[in-house]
Amino acid sequence: MFTHKLFNLRCRSLMRKYASQTSAAASSVRLENEKLQKYLENLRGEYYALRVNTAGNSHAYARMARLEGVVNALERQRALERNLTSKHDLDKETDEDMRKLMEEENEVYTDLIRKQEEVILQELLLLADDENYPAVIFEVNAGAGGQEAMLFAKELYEMYTNYFEHMGWDFEEYAYETTDIGGLRHANIMVNDSQAYMWLCNEAGVHRVQRVPATEKSGRMHTSTASITVIPRPADFQINIAEKDLKIETKRASGAGGQHVNTTDSAVRIVHLPTGLAVESQSERSQLKNRELALKRLQAKLLQQQLQSAESSKQATRKAQQGSLNRNEKIRTYNYVQDRVTDHRIQGGTLHNISGFLEGGDQLSRLIERLQLEQRKVKLASLIEMWQPPSDVNN
């Protein structure tokens, strides 16, 4: 609950910061918008109805809690509006000084009302966030460009793990495949934080790097890519691997074992019998460590398999989530020659100082916040567009 508050605060300050950069998509979301007014009034009605009837129903209670922010903001707005002196009353006032005073007062209130509108909008945006996942699986994959792509993938990996730390999230690495020259083929990380999906979903897609690779002798510039996938883990989702479903294979399976022998091979292979999935690990000298690693790999594979199939069916029906699983969209370019990072989805998405950005601290954090805000506006716009006032439905 506390983090939610913090988050709200953060959004508000963001809202102020970017209020001037309203994008085309969001321009339809104005408080004067008649449909939006109806929508708000409808939410207000829903809230009061729930307040009267929620006793014992946790589902309804949760919904009410979600609505509370918008409705309170709306009520404050209405209260402010009541303080305005009407044109009629102004005209009736004969005392010049008095009228001046009333006009000045009106200006102050108008200003406050405008600010309150922003608050309402912000609360609405929050309401539009319907995803709530306790964890996400975050994947980094090297793409086109051979070794250079793998080096880039490694840099992205470091950037994001730094970012996770920056955000104070708990995360766990499942799979990590490196290359001989220090690059990264593939990494799989579970981020255990209910805020993670919200912030990370816009990072999914293809990241492109343009630079002269360290290995390139002729000084030619290369373009290579790495992709990020963000797969949410729903609350009710769990992988339970039963011990009886596992076939654990090691080299040392015959003879008396224990003190009698000193064979050293520590490689472990695990077959998951129900699915036939096989994983192995021989990257450690301790057999138990190899077994733990292999099990983690298996768990990650199973999770991924199941999530992807569950997700693909959901995807068809969930417009809101579009893009977050789109691996092929080119979302960002890291151009070393010009020392810039450009996000292709927002206006003015070019930032300078690549090395600072790759540290995964404030710079990345700020860009993610901006993207997040844009995405919400779009979402809210489409939400209101699709919304049917109840009376229309009855017709």
Binding site: D180, I181, I248, T250, K251, R252, A253, A256, G257, G258, Q259, H260, V261, N262, T263, T264, D265, S266, A267, Q282, S283, E284, R285, S286, Q287, L288, K289, R291
Partner: protein, 335 residues
């Protein structure tokens, strides 16, 4: 005793091989390999070249898992962590002194010196332990044993633990590493092992919660004088359990290089275990547990012994399988 005398020449042979090249300066063990001159005095050999022929020689000498052995030796020579060395050794090379070391180590391995002694360290669960000549090398089954015990005590209150025959310290130190609420005391008959366990404790920064005594547990003198009234919540032990009869069939790595006192469990393999039972009667708190790693034919035997000879003192709780499905761990409770 007889056995010790027989195995001595073999041990000397390997030791000689291990030092042969160290003193001989720039003799040319590498002449047969393609050598690339890069600077005047620095000869660099790709590891893939240096490996040439060694897998075959090791196999001939009866060493199994040759690839794994070679990779351990290569990473040791390069002073790199095992998991950072690529399996195909791309872009890794030796300078001339590293090459000499490498060949020296491979020779020693061909003489069946244990890999863990050659590289001077080994990984056990989450910790890395130094090894020393004659001190018992921890086995993978023991990792599974310790994993079980750790799970059993993960949520418990403070635990005072005793280990009988702690060797390199593998079991106690990995327990201490995993569980901050444990204090451990080890007793150990071998001087070399006692010193090694203490050194490992210090290297791992666990020495504040660890004590080790050089003491041989014997009938009526189970514990060192200063601990004779002490009682523990938990006793663990991996006592010597190889039957005397079995010695003739053991690999040279075990029978030649490990101390016979670390392995020999007498005619039925339970000679030292029986002493541990008696010790537990006195030094376990009521309700305290004794966990033992044994040979796979032992658990039913131990159950019988408990019922016949220790009734009212110790109670057999259960036995457990290792990762190869061999039943070899037992849990016993002080009544």
């Amino acid at each position: 005793m007889m056995l010790k005398l027989l195995t001595k020449p073999m041990r000397c042979l390997a030791a000689a091989k291990l030092t042969r090249y160290a003193s001989s300066g720039s003799s040319q063990p590498s002449a047969e390999h393609a050598v690339t001159e890069t600077t005047k005095d620095e000869t660099v050999v790709p590891v893939t070249k240096a490996l040439d022929g060694w897998a075959g020689k090791l196999k001939e000498a009866g060493v199994e898992d040759t690839d794994f052995n070679l990779k351990c030796i290569v990473s040791h020579v390069l002073q790199r962590k095992f998991n950072t060395v690529p399996d195909n050794y791309a872009n890794v090379s030796f300078n001339s002194s590293q090459l000499r070391d490498f060949e020296r180590f491979c020779e020693a391995r061909c003489a069946r010196m244990p890999l863990q002694h050659i590289i001077g360290e080994w990984d056990f669960m989450d910790i890395t332990l130094k090894t020393a000549p004659t001190v018992f090398i921890p086995r993978p089954e023991t990792e599974e044993f310790v994993r079980r015990v750790i799970e059993e005590y993960r949520e418990s209150e403070h635990i005072d633990m005793l280990e009988v025959g702690c060797g390199s310290g593998a079991m106690s130190l990995s327990m201490l590493h995993a569980l901050p609420h444990v204090d451990a005391t080890g007793i150990e008959r071998s001087k070399a092992a006692t010193a090694l366990a203490w050194e490992n404790a210090k290297l791992l920064g666990l020495h504040q919660r660890f004590k080790v005594y050089n003491h041989t547990m014997e009938e009526n003198k189970y514990m060192p004088e200063e601990l004779k009234d002490k009682q523990y919540d938990l006793i663990i032990s991996n006592p010597p359990y190889v039957k005397t009869m079995e010695f003739q069939y053991l690999h040279p790595e075990v029978v030649v290089y490990e101390n016979i006192n670390a392995l020999d469990g007498g005619p039925d393999g339970l000679r030292v275990a029986r002493l541990v039972f008696d010790l537990a009667c006195v030094h376990l708190r009521p309700g305290g547990k004794l966990w033992l790693e044994l040979g796979n034919e032992h658990p039913p035997l131990v159950k019988t012994i408990m019922n016949l000879k220790y009734e009212g003192r110790l109670r057999f709780v259960d036995s457990y399988k290792d990762q190869y499905k061999r039943e070899r761990f037992v849990q016993i409770e002080k009544v």
